[in-house]
Amino acid sequence: MAERKSQDAMTMLRSFTAHVFLTGICISMVIGAEVKRVPEKPKNLELLKKRALAAMEDIAPNETRGKGFAKIIVGDDHALWGNIFADSQIAALVAVNLQGHPENKRREDENLCLLLWSHGWKFYQYVGKVSPYSNDFKETDWMINQRESPRENYVLSSLDDGGENHLSWLCDPKTHTLIPTGWPKDALPSISGNTITFIQRNKKNLVYSIYQLTDQPGKRIVSFHDEILDFDSIKTAISIWDSHLKKMVVWHILSKSHRPGSDVELCSLCKNEEGIDNENFRQDAVIEFTWRKGPDYARAKEYVLWQLSGASSHAINGRWDEEKENGMRIPISAKVTGLPEAVELFTWPKVEKKAE
């Protein structure tokens, strides 16, 4: 009996130890992940502070900057300043380029620093590395993009590795610091309304994925990609949740043809459950578009995406609301034959159902 009790105690002790060990590992991983979100302090932080403050030394904001940001270029360094946190606090983001502009040499990433204005500029945060400015100062890879509602600003950049490593920060008005968003690093983000679009590159294509957005990306609304078949033929695959079938489906659109000089454009549609091989395109429906300014597959694709998902033109094209866009282009007419579901979804103008 006593022996059995001691064996039970040992078993419990071993179990407890294993739990503690595993928990410890989990906690370490979380802490490690948190540590990685905060960039390592650079060794030359004092030099960076000095250069960042020097870049802004002649700027003494008189009042709230208002719309837009001012760009400052001082030697090899450049900055954006204004109401970066979408509130009354004036701030500046300064990219310090310690390397200069060496010819025939790969340029190093620059160091992004945050300064706040309060009766003078004060260094507030070392943000991290960003992609370098082009030599002619005409292009900068990092920029501030704005979400309209709620009013939020985001800093986007990529490291100088061919643009495969995308970085993004929220300009947090509560703390007046830049906080990494945690968005996927292999995707270029854009926000339109209450949606966020990520553009990722797979082996052959650019894949657009649109998600609902509150504080963080939520449910995926739709994703799509184009496949160029030949010189004038494009196929688009749209993956979306079908609320009737209660499963993911893929709609394929194939541009067919248009007569030169004609305003009519034909597109074929095929619908399958996700995962089913779509090698052989089965024509389930045909849409005959009539456009004001002649056929344009990009508009046809956008129209189909809009009807399927409700996503805006900005979201479909991966643009922020502040960027100029012509808006959703609606056809003069869209006549649909074939699959009844396609007829109901894509016919334009919409036919009102008569009450029986």
Binding site: E57, A60, K71, I73, V74
Partner: protein, 369 residues
Amino acid sequence: MSISNRMCQILRCFAFCVVAFGICSAVFAGDEDLSAKQIEKIEMKSLSLLRDVMPASSPMGFLHKQSRPLKIMKTPEGTVWWGNLFTKEEIVALVNLAPAHEEEPGEHLPRYLSFFAWQKGKWVFRQFLGNVYNLGLNYRNDVPSSFLQGSRRIGRNTGDHLSWYYDVKTGRLIRTHFENWGPFRLAGNYLCLTRGFEAHLHDATIWIYEYKDGRKGEFLARFHSRDDGSSDVVFRDHKSHKMVGWYFNGSYKNGNYENGNPISVNVREIKDIDNLVGAKIRVGDDYDDEESRQIMRGEMVVEGVDYAESIPSAEFFEILTGLNPGLLDTEWQNELSAPPPLKRSNISVTGNPEIVKRFQWPKENHKTP
């Protein structure tokens, strides 16, 4: 004082005011016919752009060396350049306003430029410079030492290139009145002008003048090349003192150049010099007209030259004009570096003896026909 004398005094006073007003308008109007009120509005708008710029008490460093940092601020309302742009002693600013509204395709709205100086803790308007943008600053070691260049497009393939030098005595920017159809650079004692807005996509041309103490001197030479490989050099011949043009056209047969095919050489006397020194170009023609007449012809074969690239134009330029081929470069230079010893290509020449004399190399290989 009699009434008539008084009337004369009043009339003289009135005339003086009219003349003074006219002069002031001319001085401040720049290149456009803007009223004083319009210029004042531009000044106010430019000042508002400067409201956030308060230069630190210690000047950041004289900008005379082009490697010094230049401070630029770009906003949706316009662009500001500021600092010790021209002298160590004074901080100044150039303010280029953005167009009044967004341009429609093909529209070219003015972007007005103004010049301010930082005096006793505030910006003081000094000069209105007119509608000009795409600014560039260049510096020299001689006087005048600072040059501002800009341009303004007024049509699809038309526009002006304007330039000023900084006058230390008056603290103002003075128009150089160099040619306005293209930008220029100074290299040593030479002024080199290049193409401007005109639509000559296949041509590259450099006009070379003497230059001294801020003044453009005599026209020396024009070098022109086309992307089909042809080129020409126009200059005043030392012996005949006539303006002549040497035109080189590669043999373009069967859709490509072939090494070993002869280059045709066409030498023409240029009668209409005014047409030559402007933005227009001429490629050698075979007929005589009031502008030029042919005086010599020949052919040459240049050994080892890849005609698909170009004829050895710099070498021909130096042989013909005696000028430094470094002038064909596009950099501002205080002094022109001495060219390396001319490395002659092996050339076999037939035709006019003068052409043979100039270009046959080595001389002893010339075979008389």
